[in-house]
Amino acid sequence: MTDLKDLLTSVVEMQEDSAIALTVKYLDQGVPALEIFNCYQAALVEIGKRFEKQIYFIPELIMSGEMMRAGAELLKPHLASQDCAGEESKESRKLGKVLMATVEGDIHDIGKNIGTMMMELNGLDVRDIGVDVPADRIIEEAKAFGADVIGLSGLLTLAFDPMKAVVEKLKEQGLRDKIKVIIGGGQMDEQICQYVGADAFVTDAVLGVNYIKGWLS
């Protein structure tokens, strides 16, 4: 087993160039790709802890996503496809599936994207179906995906009613008990959570992940 501590440190400390150089170096030295991949995963665990402790914020979330993407691209040709698939499906089975959408009438995507990235970073299987999505399509996609949780995003106050419509349609279809609903956005609060009939509201992504992990555990 090779000591990949310097790679782990580079990823955790957001040293993008050094992480790429070390990944290339270890691959050249013949270190198994899966071992390097596991090092990235270990780095993500540490990065996740730093979000929890409010040491890291959105710049680091975006950077870590970028570094993971770049690392995965380098590793992919060297990883046996079943290794990767095995890892991914194990994770999915363990944690669960979240369908993410910005509700109808609202085209803002930053909050949704941040939420999605934070969930993926924490090992959730997330399907992001975009912005301005009508309630019926959200429900159809959730059913097709087998979502355990629907995450509804909206920046505008005009998003409140479309969020409520999703919950009501879930009830109509007898799905409300099977699928949790979490709402996120700048103007979400307890009042709106009750109005919409959601299970939880959040204004930050870390808290959202914590709720979802709690439901799925």
Partner: protein, 444 residues
Amino acid sequence: MFQGWDKLSVVERQDAFLAQWVSGEGIEFTDNERKAAYQERAGLIADAIRIDQSIKRVPIMPLTTFAPTMLKGISGRDAMYDPHAAGKAYLDFCTDYEPDTAGSAPMLMYGPALETLKYNLYKWPGNGVADNLSYQFHEKEYMKADEFDHLISDPTDFWLRSWMPKTHGALAPFAGMPPIYGSMELPMLGPWLISIGTPPVQEALKALMEAGKQCFDWITILGGYLGQIMAAGFPFGAGGATKAPFDVLSDSFRGTTPLMMDMYRRPEKVLEAVERLVRPMIETGVHSAKTNGNPLVFIPLHKGADGFMSDEQFRRYYWPTLKAVMYGLAEAGCVPACFVEGGYNQRLEYLKETSDIRCIYLFDRTDMGKAREVLGGRVCIAGGFPVSLILTGTPDQVEEETKKLIDAAAGDRGYILSVGCALDEAKEETMRAFVKTGKRYGKY
């Protein structure tokens, strides 16, 4: 502004501009009673800004965008295409609910001019969002990473020949124009003018002229209603607007995701760029405030909020240039009115640094008790009322929450009651309860 202006301190300049605004000089009031009402309302705002202990009541300043039109059943599209409908709705909102400030109706903008420009920085009703909704920002990477040096070396040239061609489709040919500096001497003037004469640039200039004419005609109509609003005794809650340099870079130029990566990939460029935007942002705010004879310069704050970046990043990238813009505005006699979107519970100590100028911090999700604890008696604080209750609560809930908020925030006599969110919509009963409770319970 007047003789001896240069000898005044920064705060004396701000007080002089505030006094001029409160006087209502130049406004043709309907009668003396309305003039007195205007002076009383603007006076309350000025007293809260100065934290004047003789203030009689908490002033009430709703931040309305589309609420006055939506309350009357006017669609977002009609609000942006019919200045009579928009102007009348804004006037009626004032005379009906009687807040202490009127919302800035021109912020609704005029749809036909946006169509002429093929504007794509926002989507608006009928152009990317449904007719009944409000306009929405359409964030993209309008400035590439390799354009930092262009922005830094010459913001205006970057704005005109790189950014506007991407965000205003009809102005795309401006990208092919040579820099304006070609006009510096007779022998070089010809080539520069020839580029202006090319058919695509001529078309772009025609579009710009047409959009300008459309907006002029629009404000000629809307302006009649704005005059009536003031004549009826209601001062406007903003004289102009500007932005924090980091937000300009993040919202309009690079986009949030690319800029967040820039903070790691090219930190020095980010710092140079925000520094370079300070002076243009000051000039933008000062020019509009002076044109409108109203010192309040609205600054919506976005990406510096709690949760967006660390304290260290805020201290390095966001705060110094925002503070510089605020002080630049103050030096010109303006009053920076920061609309602090999101939460700023972890940033309050920074805001305290501006205690030596007149300014307003209007909070969205910040704990108002904590805001008062840190800032009370030093700068004017405002806002904090949850929009959720205006839209989904009962009048009783609104009354109770308004009282709680006044108890928590108004004790230092430097508080303005406001909903902590731009009101794209509202409900009649709760809006009435909000204003009524503020007036009754907010008496000192």
